[in-house]
Symmetry: C2
Subunit: 341 residues, 2 copies
Amino acid sequence: MHGIIHRKFNLGFQLFAVLFALCLPWQVISAPLLPSWQDSPVKKRLIKFIIDTTKPNSPKFVEIKNRIAVFDNDGTLWVEKPVYFQMIYTYDALIKKLNENPKLATTMPYKVLIKQGLKGFSHLNKEQLLQVYSTINANMSVMTFKNRVKAWSLIHKHPKLHCKYSELTYLPMIELIKLLKSYGYTIYIVTGGGTEFVRVFSFKLYGIDDNYVIGSELKTNVIDNRGKLSFWRTNKIDYINDKTEKTLNIQRIIGKRPIIAVGNSDGDLSMLTYTSQNKINLPILIWHTDDKREYAYDKFSKVGHLDKALQSAKKNRWLIVNIKKDWKIVFKNRTCQHINK
Amino acid sequence: MHGIIHRKFNLGFQLFAVLFALCLPWQVISAPLLPSWQDSPVKKRLIKFIIDTTKPNSPKFVEIKNRIAVFDNDGTLWVEKPVYFQMIYTYDALIKKLNENPKLATTMPYKVLIKQGLKGFSHLNKEQLLQVYSTINANMSVMTFKNRVKAWSLIHKHPKLHCKYSELTYLPMIELIKLLKSYGYTIYIVTGGGTEFVRVFSFKLYGIDDNYVIGSELKTNVIDNRGKLSFWRTNKIDYINDKTEKTLNIQRIIGKRPIIAVGNSDGDLSMLTYTSQNKINLPILIWHTDDKREYAYDKFSKVGHLDKALQSAKKNRWLIVNIKKDWKIVFKNRTCQHINK
């Protein structure tokens, strides 16, 4: 009898303890936090901020509904070189389209891309870029577009790092997102990429669901096909979610100032600045410094141009993540690497 | 010793049981569900749907991330008569403005409103409506606008129901929102009202936070005042979140089809139809039938016009909530009522 009560008591208490621990993530947890990050001052400051903002009675405590963190995507959560993945998708889909319609290859602006490959994009003017973009990304239903992107991602590989695009997410960032979530943070992706393009990947790769993805938008129509409603992507741009437009959309869609913002280029400067003006805040800048494991670029790069945001980060003591110094591991799949290096 | 163990065991077990119950809301809970609803077939169908979609192994089970419910606001969560509250706010703020600037009272379109009160709105054309609207709701910072709306809501009372606007939310709907949340549903307000106007109330009244409010939008600018960023409401309409625009914004911002949609007018027909085309779905139509406790109106009303949506609801067996028959209580504060009735 004694023994039975004891066992039952232990079982109840253990289960209770487990549930209690789940409710209080700031308790000592045995697994190391952010294992792919070097044990540098950057990691320490990051973890300290998370604990400070979530521990009751901390002077920096932020109530759970205001724990908003916004992440840029290209160059922050996954690779953006040699060009943004949505441009590579556009190129690959264009090549496929040319097989069906070879005439396109002889007309501008497609001609340049056929001849020069991805580099050809840098020779197109804005109008031509939009023409190519809308030929591939628009004038179809949202569902068709997403299915095509998904199919592409299952087959195509990155031209330099030789693995699938979905494998080119930064493991340290995925760990950071998971950690923030476990501490009650709500995470948004605020990206210059197309909303529907990024949604194909966001939940699978980062655990960030469709309703937490804020991206660039084409004007879209509701199509009524005998009462059945669906969405049609026109070839008109609604807005490009970059620079101040990111900040605007944070207000429009989230409606409150984030506590944490993470970006890697001047396109993120506005939302980093906006976040830095919160009472409690941590703007984070990812600095691409590692040409062995990934890419090294900043102010001389057109894609992911980083100049003013780095100056501002240094001046205002934002958290600068130097990939070479601060990340122990870049990609989970270690076969993702430059060959001949 | 025996007694101590027993007490401890009981304590541990009780706490465990409480936590267990919190984690499994589909277990039998002793408090009655939706107490302000009559025990009608409508309430039964509502509760059955919630249980069916959340109980594991149910054929209608929906995983937690897809449990999206969208609610219209005016006429669905709070009163919309004699006109939408944002119009009453506009009128009250206009009267206040006239005290400071009496000249306005002699010019159109303000003249009509001074003479006829709220009824005057129905005599304005679209251009005039926008002129009044933007004089009061635009050309100021988002923060100024929200502060003004908040101050108004603390003072002003409804002209017919004689209590504050924040008291004119439907208690049965607040119970429904709470119940859905406890079953893991994510709730969005999808309203024709202005996003920032509704955000002043949404968390306090419904527990729905800013980032779950989707409304109409003015073109807004980011203002940079010596490096300090804020938002400026211009007097240009970005979009009116009504009819198909509601469905579009559900796709744009939420990115997936809701399971539940609740509305009360033809302006909600598109999102109700869109929701009804989900594999598992419950479109809900609130039908204002109670002129004693609230208002009775449908196809002959300009505000909250309900005709096609009611036909569609009947034809397709959507859940029709007849306020007179299905709600035991309408407002929490029972002093909110028509006097002389």
